[in-house]
Amino acid sequence: MKRHASRREFLRIAGGAAAGLGLTAIITVEPARATPATMQEAIRKVVGSARVNTGKVKLELPPLSENGNAVPLTVSVESPMTEADHVKAMYIFTEKNPQPEVVSIRLGPRAGRARVATRIRLADTQTVVAICELSDGSFWSERADVVVTLAACLEEL
């Protein structure tokens, strides 16, 4: 009787510990997602030693794109766009294009609204990263995954 209870006890504790371990594993794996080193390097070149926070930025991309030659992209930030508090710059990076930099945009309080749309090329199914620099010098980022069925850059003439 006593032995049975301890076995049940053991299973309960072991199960709890395993669930706990699984949870911590997910939490620790998430931020360290394998982003190719070249993109990280390109991002470092832009932000320097500053910390890149997650949030504030909204990156709109279609989750599935049939043609990687023209993928519509919109970056926006909820910002009052005043002299004291505005978005200074927006940068777009990709993981698997031949070159990680896509575009760097400068804007200011004269923009009135921090929202820019353009069309980009994607060479493969990959993650796109948008980084915005605010007037207080902080950097904020957002990422989006896009599945590309027809890749850009690879076709011959």
Binding site: P98, I105, A111, R113, R121, L157
Partner: protein
């Protein structure tokens, strides 16, 4: 040679945030492609786009080969005064296009 399409409202109220859309015709040859014989196709892209409002820069972008052919940009600006909004694209092989639109602010 090169055509640019721009969309700027003709009239706006003072302080209103207006949306500007621009499209310029350009192949944006990446420089990463090859012909069927394997010869690399040299890069030919627009490097920079600047928008000025009565001479003051309000928006600029540095482009890379990952921008689609016929670069499109939609952005906004505050209608501060009547005058002209000018757009300037410059790129490889001496590419340079300037367009402008008049705006009346009341």
């Amino acid at each position: 040679m090169a055509n640019a399409l721009i969309n700027v409202p003709a009239r706006a109220r003072r302080g209103e945030v207006i949306e500007i859309k621009t499209l310029v015709s350009h192949p944006m040859e990446t420089g990463y492609r090859r012909t069927q014989l394997g010869a690399p196709i040299p890069r030919d892209i627009i490097r920079r786009f600047v928008c000025t409002y009565n001479g003051t820069e309000v928006f600029s972008a540095d482009l890379n080969p990952a921008i689609s052919a016929n670069p499109y940009f939609a952005f906004s600006t505050v209608a501060t005064e009547s005058g002209s909004i000018a757009f300037h694209w410059t790129g490889d092989n001496g590419f340079s296009v300037t367009e402008s639109a008049a705006i009346v602010v009341d």
